[in-house]
């Protein structure tokens, strides 16, 4: 398999915690501009896979490449984030004591060292970019509210907005619609599809309705390895997938 042309390339990745194999010889390739949905039952290793890609967890074995050339196992979270991988957590995580706008200001692409931050003044371009993002994530009205006061769904959007502000090449989105109303879920699907026009995206999700709405290639993980890959219809027709979902 060639790494060139891929945005994300995982080959033979394994990791274990205290004897428990969370990821077991996992291989996954994502092409530039692709959006991929990852499904799988609890404990399938979805979040751990995200941890590995973003540098939080070091794999015991295997290759992890970003953009065809960058070995992600050699970098830490901040580096990887700066290279252009944005990650949304399972539980929405925003800076609750800051306003919506300030959350985005902090996430905006730019130098990441202390002294520029100390003497930073917002430029016009930055303000415009923030306005854009606010519009994208439908939070213009709440610009000056504390993030803590947002609803659960709005926090999810804000987090996605922060990823956008980072201007990443690849977005990892972990369960973006957990705890959302149906309307919000639909809205989120629309939002992600918008984003996918300009970015590569990996979405981890349980909600099959939502995955269907995204209408992209699906990878099903089980016990740390790829169980099945293809369209949602193909995957959901797979006997092994049915078995692990229905349980035996």
């Amino acid at each position: 398999m060639s790494k060139s042309g891929t945005i994300l390339y995982l080959d033979g990745v394994s990791v274990s915690f205290d004897g428990f194999r969370a990821i077991n010889n996992l291989s996954l390739v994502l092409d530039r501009g692709e959006m991929r949905a990852i499904i799988g039952p609890n404990g399938a290793g979805k979040t751990t896979m995200m941890d590995i890609i973003t540098g939080k967890t070091r794999p015991d074995a295997g290759e992890v490449y970003f953009d065809g050339t960058i070995d992600l196992t050699k970098h830490d979270e901040a580096d990887i984030a700066m290279m252009g991988i944005g990650r949304k957590f399972q539980k929405p995580t925003v800076f609750e004591s800051h306003t919506v706008e300030d959350n985005l200001v902090l996430a905006l692409a730019g130098p990441r060292s202390i002294f520029p931050a100390l003497f930073h003044r917002r430029s016009k371009a930055e303000s415009e970019h923030i306005d854009e993002i606010l519009a994208t994530i439908r939070l213009e009205a709440r610009r000056n509210d504390l993030a803590a006061n947002l609803s659960h769904g709005q926090k999810q959007w804000l987090e996605i907005g922060m990823l956008l502000a980072q201007d990443p090449k690849l977005l990892l989105v972990d369960e973006p619609v957990a705890g959302m109303t149906d309307a919000e879920t639909e809205e989120t699907a629309r939002l992600l599809k918008d984003i996918a026009k300009t970015h590569s995206v990996v979405v981890v999700e349980h909600d099959m309705h939502f995955v269907r709405e995204l209408g992209v290639k699906v990878t099903c993980l089980h016990e740390g390895a790829v169980l099945s890959e293809g369209t949602l219809d193909h995957v959901s027709a797979d006997d092994r997938v049915i078995e692990v979902y229905l349980g035996r």
Binding site: T48, D51, T57, T93
Partner: protein, 538 residues
């Protein structure tokens, strides 16, 4: 001086050799009576030597009494009695026969004064007198004394005793005493070589001391032989020292474990930064003090049981205080660990001052029961009973706690509540009560620790402050929330500390341990036994 001593002991031995030749009672009594007129220690010492010179075994009684500070004379008629005091009265005994002679107020009597050198003299002369005692234990003691404080004049007596000795262990001691005596005598060099060879096989510190002394005052081959023996002993002692250090480390570790184990629950499991933990230990120690005071005044016979009685009481008292603290303060602060630090800091100030107000600021006396006093030797390893018991006790408490946590329904509930409070409460566990009793358990365990620590440390209002920092270090080093971590942490810190101490000194050793902890936490930011796993943070 020595000549005089030699003379006296020789005379004494000659007389005691002729067992039937009973010395005149009156002469002995007259000598004893002179104690009343003794003006200083030198005069008293002369009287002691005169008594010993009679060679009568019975003079051991007044001499022992003198050594123990129990020999007194009546102010009115200057008659000498053995008069041990209890409270304001003295019980009188005849100094020679030991017959009871009634009671009298202690104010009527004046003690015959003794000091250390006098006690030493008494010990030496008594050993001369008791070498032929029918009781092997007494003979053994006499042999030991002669071994440690050899006197050339004892040589013949020792030879006789060895010839007559039937008990092997006593005989070995007697031979050692003979060897050490030969080294101080003017015996021929050959005998001294033999003696050195014999002593060289012993390898304890006293022998080392004897041989070092001998090497310093001899020359030539004898000195070389002694030096070789010293080196041999030194080498074997160095090995024993390692063992001894490990023991000291284990012992210090057990103290740390005891101090920290309650905190491992209140802080480790429940997440309360419990600055009042040390005061729970202190409360346990004061409970012991109160129990012992009651026992001393009302049931003196039960004194050896005082700790056994104090244990459950300390658990209950400290547990009750803990329960009150949890219900009154901490329950409002769950999820706000920092606030618990502040509030418990306030509680700790209040508890300290309360104890100071109630019991006074000074140290309180907590006695060691007889089974926790003194020590014994295994090879060259010196173990003290109190330390040994504390090690055993610490492990027992740890085992009990582990059992409660792992094997009982309550333990399961505690683990459930701390793992996921909301889930536990929805499963019907009454989380407030589980919290309260878990905290009470941690406090009660701290109280129990206080009972043990009262045996080796001050019982004062500052007791708790001395342990709080170490306790936090142990729990954090071991890994918060892990009982095994606390165990391993306590013992490893104890042993490391004790191995550093001989080289770096107590202060620097402790600093090094702290620096090691800081460095260790860099390596393992969640302590020794940290949970690994996928990202739990959001």
């Amino acid at each position: 001086m020595t000549v005089l001593r030699v003379l006296f002991v020789l005379v004494g031995l000659a007389l005691s050799g002729a067992a039937s030749a009973q010395v005149d009672d009156e002469a002995i009594r007259a000598t004893i009576a002179r104690f009343a007129d003794s003006k200083n220690f030198r005069e008293t010492e002369e009287i002691v030597r005169d008594l010993a010179a009679t060679g009568d075994v019975r003079v051991e009684r007044p001499l022992s009494a003198l050594s123990d500070g129990n020999l007194s004379f009546r102010k009115s008629d200057r008659q000498v009695f053995i008069a041990p005091e209890r409270g304001q009265t003295a019980t009188l005994f005849d100094p020679l026969t030991g017959e009871a002679a009634g009671e009298a107020p202690k104010g009527d009597f004046t003690k015959v004064k003794v000091n250390n050198s006098l006690r030493r003299t008494i010990r030496d002369v008594i050993s001369g007198l008791t070498l032929a005692s029918p009781d092997p234990v007494v003979r053994l003691a006499a042999a030991r004394t002669m071994f440690i404080a050899p006197d050339a004049a004892n040589l013949e007596a020792l030879d006789a005793a060895i010839a007559a000795e039937t008990v092997t262990s006593v005989k070995i001691s007697l031979e050692a005493a003979r060897a050490s005596t030969i080294l101080v005598s003017d015996a021929p060099d050959a005998a001294k070589f033999d003696a050195i060879a014999l002593l060289g096989q012993r390898g304890d510190r006293e022998t080392l001391s004897l041989l070092t002394g001998f090497a310093a005052r001899s020359q030539g081959d004898l000195q070389a032989a002694a030096q070789r023996a010293i080196d041999t002993i030194g080498k074997s002692l160095a090995l024993w020292d390692i063992g001894q250090n490990i023991w000291y480390g284990i012992s210090l570790g057990s103290v740390l474990l005891l101090a920290a184990i309650g905190l491992a629950i209140t802080f480790g499991v429940m997440g309360v930064i419990n600055m009042a933990h040390g005061e729970m230990v202190m409360i346990g120690a004061y409970t012991t003090f109160v129990v012992q005071s009651v026992i001393r005044s009302s049931f003196p016979g039960l004194f050896d049981w005082s700790l056994t009685i104090a244990l459950p009481l300390a658990f209950l008292v400290a547990g009750a205080v803990g329960l009150a603290l949890e219900r009154g303060v901490i329950r409002f602060l769950y999820g706000r660990p920092l606030e618990t630090l502040l509030a418990t800091w306030g509680v700790s100030l209040i508890l300290q001052q309360a104890v100071r107000t109630i019991f006074g600021p000074t140290n309180q006396e907590v006695g060691n029961p007889s089974w926790m006093s003194g020590g014994f030797q295994i090879g060259q390893l010196a173990l003290t009973w109190n330390r040994l018991w504390i090690v055993v006790f610490a492990l027992a408490v740890f085992g009990l706690l582990l059992y409660i946590f792992k094997r009982t329904a309550w333990g399961l509930q505690m683990r459930a509540v701390t793992a996921n409070r909301r889930m536990a409460s929805s499963m019907g566990i009454r989380t407030p009560w589980v919290d309260a009793f878990t905290f009470a358990l941690g406090s009660g365990i701290a109280g129990i620790a206080g009972v043990a620590l009262s045996q080796i440390d001050n019982v004062s209002p500052n007791l708790g402050q001395g342990y709080i920092i170490d306790s936090f270090m142990v729990v954090v080093f071991g890994g918060v929330g892990n009982l095994w971590g606390t165990l391993v942490g306590a013992f490893s810190l104890g042993i490391v500390n004790k191995f550093l101490e001989p080289y770096a000194g107590a202060v620097l050793g402790k600093i090094l341990v702290l620096v090691l902890i800081i460095l260790f936490i860099q390596k393992r930011p969640r302590g020794l036994f940290a949970l690994k796993g996928r990202s739990v943070e959001a």
